[in-house]
């Protein structure tokens, strides 16, 4: 036996592109030392209900959604059973043990023990979608060969019934030789029985010997390879068989095969080369034989366990898709949905936003009236309350955005959108599946970048990562909302006015929509550019399973919405609060001699100094040093811009008018600001638009930079991204501002 780690291939790290850990795989059959708890992995095809079951068993609330590829990371939880606690691992979905995308690779690496940071599981819970039995059992057929105890859990039995099918769990159990349980996790049906079985599974015998067979020559080849792997790489007999079958099942000459071969010793590599060539000469392709043998075996299982109880009906999903995927109406509906999102975000959200703004003002005044005048009062009122309040005001808009995205995710419409958009996306080198990361980036680029792990083509994936931060994220909403609210009139572009109620598109909503459109167009434009110049190469693959439509559970939707909102509030209460206080200090000190006007005091402060240093660079865009302070502080998080402006304008206010002015919203203060030298307003609608354009396009988010670095394994791409986005933002704002001035605006 070779010592542990002797077979570590040097390039394994590069291969595990999406892997967050340094993966230094031990030999696949090494049993991990000092294991304290039993570890069970949840494995299954994408979108078969693994996370729903994981959540039901562990009480956690990991993200669930009705499209393939929701889970892209390994997640751990604890299940308490009569036999003690068990560690459950939820994995990304995978179609087979031959990974074609980074998320599948993560799941495969855990299962085969290629990851150093995760012990190889003691048992597998194979989640099987009963409405899609045949393809799900293909993976089961591979899992049974791993030599680890397997428990099969049937989900989606209700969906199967809608198709007139039923899977007989007992018959399947008998045919497979491993326990099979049916559950409906969301309703907690079948869970007690499942937990009882789960506790016993790790101590059970591994699954019975395989039932799929190959022609004798191919059989001999697998045995031979397995023998070599045992001899030269120190694998156990079962592990050697699994690896041999996987290795021979890879298409000859593919990068996947090269990667797999690097894992084993040179003898194995040379041997397989000669053998595969010999087979090829006879016109035999082993990978075809193995896949077909498994599917033949699956056919036998399906015949025993699947009961077709009624003629296949035309399901509701089919009927809905005649409309939603219609060659004409499908696109119309798509555009209407997107337009509705922006309209509601601006019109509906303004009512609760006004209420919150009122409450923040009231709180500020209440405190101001009760504290003695001085620096401490200024700090609390101008620093903390104004800073946090200015961000929390945007909670309603963010809630609405999250509600909308969560509805799209849970109904299954996202996959439809990917189908409709694929043609357009492929024009610029992206992918239908890029639609999901890009749409999530409207909420936040971080989950967006993570979601690219489901894209099979590494080039399309990199392109998606590069342009995802251009999609207008929710942290930009505060900037837009303040600017639009203050400088863009609410005139009706089209629609009707009923008293105070405006039905239709207002200029404000249209401006907001334009900002989102700009970000989106920029993302596509830059993707097209990079596709032509930087990243030439393989044509991307697009294979996507279409999930059935599901009624979103109100509970899940509301809970996810509030969970995300809570994160936002927490951020406002911690990071933003801290930054507000720091900003207040930087703009209050060094103190000028008594009698200096507040605006001059602001100018001379540390923050003012920083802003004035930046001013020459942003002057051509129409920005002054105060906006410079905002832009600098935005590098921590974009919404800090609003906080910064709030602090700057509160601090530089005349002390005498303090209390009345406090109640005036930030927008009003910005409107009232006049440039002391020219006597003209600092902010004009043109400046506001130029500023918003800058915020759409600039890379101003440290967390996104960190995630991009992790997902692309290095500094090259995140640095490139910062450079191109900042350049793009500067030039576009320059064009907008100077062009606007030439045309006589502002």
């Amino acid at each position: 036996m070779k010592p542990t780690g002797a077979t570590v291939p040097p390039d394994e790290r590069a291969a595990a592109a999406a892997d967050t850990s340094r993966s230094v795989p031990p030999p696949p059959d090494s049993s991990s030392p000092a294991r304290t708890r039993t570890v069970i992995a949840m494995v299954g095809n994408p979108n078969c209900g693994k996370t729903t079951l994981f959540n039901a068993l562990t009480g956690l609330r990991q993200k669930v959604g009705n499209y393939p590829g929701v889970t892209v990371e390994r997640k751990e939880g604890t299940l308490n059973t009569a036999a003690g606690p068990i560690t459950l691992i939820d994995l990304p979905g995978l179609y087979s043990l031959t990974p074609h995308s980074p998320d599948e690779r993560i799941a495969r690496d855990v299962l085969l023990g290629y990851r150093a940071d995760t012990p190889r599981p003691d048992a597998i819970v194979n989640v099987v979608d009963a409405s899609n039995l045949e393809r799900n059992l293909y993976l089961t057929s591979q899992l049974l060969d791993l030599g680890i105890p397997v428990l099969v859990v049937l989900t989606m039995n209700d969906t199967a019934a809608l198709h007139g099918m039923r899977v007989d769990a007992d018959a399947l159990q008998e045919a497979l030789g491993v326990p099979v349980r049916a559950v409906q996790a969301a309703k907690r049906r079948g869970l007690p029985d499942l937990i009882e079985t789960l506790a016993e599974v790790p101590s059970q015998a591994p699954p019975p010997a395989r039932t799929w067979t190959l022609p004798p020559t191919a059989e001999r080849e697998i045995e031979e390879m397995a023998g070599l792997l045992q001899e030269h790489d120190g694998l156990s007999p079962t592990a050697a068989f699994t690896e041999a079958a996987l290795l021979l099942g890879l298409p000859d000459g593919s990068p996947l095969q090269q990667e797999a071969l690097r894992r084993w010793s040179p003898t194995v590599r040379e041997h397989i080369r000669t053998d595969l060539d010999a087979f090829a000469a006879e016109g035999i392709d082993l990978s075809t034989l193995i896949t077909e043998a498994r599917y033949t075996d699956v056919g036998r299982l399906v015949a025993r366990a699947l009961r077709q109880e009624a003629a296949v009906p035309v399901t509701l999903s089919d009927k809905l898709d005649r409309v939603f995927l219609h060659r004409f109406w499908g696109y119309v509906i798509f555009l209407v949905l997107m337009a509705t999102l922006f309209q509601t975000m601006f019109t509906w959200a303004s009512y609760p936003a006004d209420l919150i703004a009122g409450a923040v003002d009231a709180a500020g005044q209440w405190i101001a009236a009760r504290m003695p005048e001085g620096d401490l009062r200024d700090l609390v009122v101008n620093g903390a309350v104004a800073g946090v309040g200015n961000t929390v005001v945007f909670l309603p808009q963010i809630l609405l955005l999250f509600l909308f995205i969560s509805l799209l995710e849970d109904t299954g419409y996202l996959a439809r959108a990917a189908f409709l958009m694929d043609r357009l996306m492929s024009r610029v080198g992206l992918h239908g599946k890029s639609f999901i990361p890009l749409l999530s980036s409207y909420a936040c680029a971080i989950p967006g970048v993570m979601a690219t792990r489901t894209i099979e083509s590494s080039r399309a994936r990199l392109l998606t990562i590069l342009v995802a931060p251009l999609m207008s994220c929710s942290a930009r909403i505060p900037v837009y909302a303040v600017m639009i609210g203050a400088f863009i009139p609410a005139t009706l572009v089209f629609g009707v006015q009923l008293g105070g109620l405006k039905l239709g598109l207002t200029l404000q909503a249209l401006t907001l929509f334009s900002m989102y459109a700009l970000g989106t167009v920029a993302a596509f434009g830059m993707a097209a550019l990079f596709n032509r110049t930087l990243l030439k190469g393989d044509g991307p693959t697009f294979l996507m399973e279409m999930p059935p439509y599901r009624l979103p559970s109100l509970r899940t939707v509301v809970l996810t919405m509030f969970e995300r909102a809570w994160l936002f509030v927490k951020r406002a209460g911690t990071v933003i609060l801290a930054l507000s206080i720091v900003l207040w200090f930087l703009s209050t000190y060094p103190k000028q001699p008594a009698g200096t006007p507040p605006s001059e005091q602001m100018r001379q402060s540390y923050a003012g100094l920083a802003g004035r240093t930046l001013e020459p660079f942003i002057r051509p865009l129409g920005f002054d040093w105060k906006m410079g302070i905002g832009i600098i502080s935005s590098f921590a998080a974009r919404e800090v811009f609003v906080t910064a402006m709030g602090t700057i304008y509160s601090v530089s206010e005349d002390a005498a008018e303090d209390e009345e002015k406090l109640s005036v919203a930030l927008g009003e203060k910005m409107k009232a600001d006049v440039n002391p030298t020219t006597g003209r307003p600092t902010f004009t609608p043109l400046v506001a638009i130029s500023l918003m354009v800058f915020y759409v396009l600039a890379m101003q988010c440290i967390s996104t930079v960190a995630v991009v670095k992790r997902e692309t394994n290095g500094w090259k791409w995140p640095l490139f991204q910062i450079a191109y986005m900042t350049g793009l933002a500067w030039f576009t704002s320059f064009l907008v501002y100077q062009g606007g001035r030439l045309l006589g605006f502002g």
Binding site: S96, E134, D252, S287, Y331, D422, T541, F542, M544, M546
Partner: protein, 97 residues
Amino acid sequence: MKRSTPNTSSAADCPATAAQCTLDCLGKGQKARVCQVEGPNRCRLMELGFTSGTEVEISRRAAFGGPLEVRLRSYRLSLRCEEASSIRVETGSPEFT
């Protein structure tokens, strides 16, 4: 894949007389049987169920030459025309006409 892969096992399902074409040539609603898969995605397509003899039906084609939606083994998969063109199918048998 650089090499073409003559597929002995599918010979029985693919009589030389049957009308053969690639999957992307079929129209909406047409059914066929898979003969052979080639190209860089052969492995994945086969794992997804496109093994020889499998019955497939085109359930939808997106506008502007966009992806196709195929129904096979009681699920729905969308794929681009490029990928579909690497799947050879046979439409000749009487049940499909």
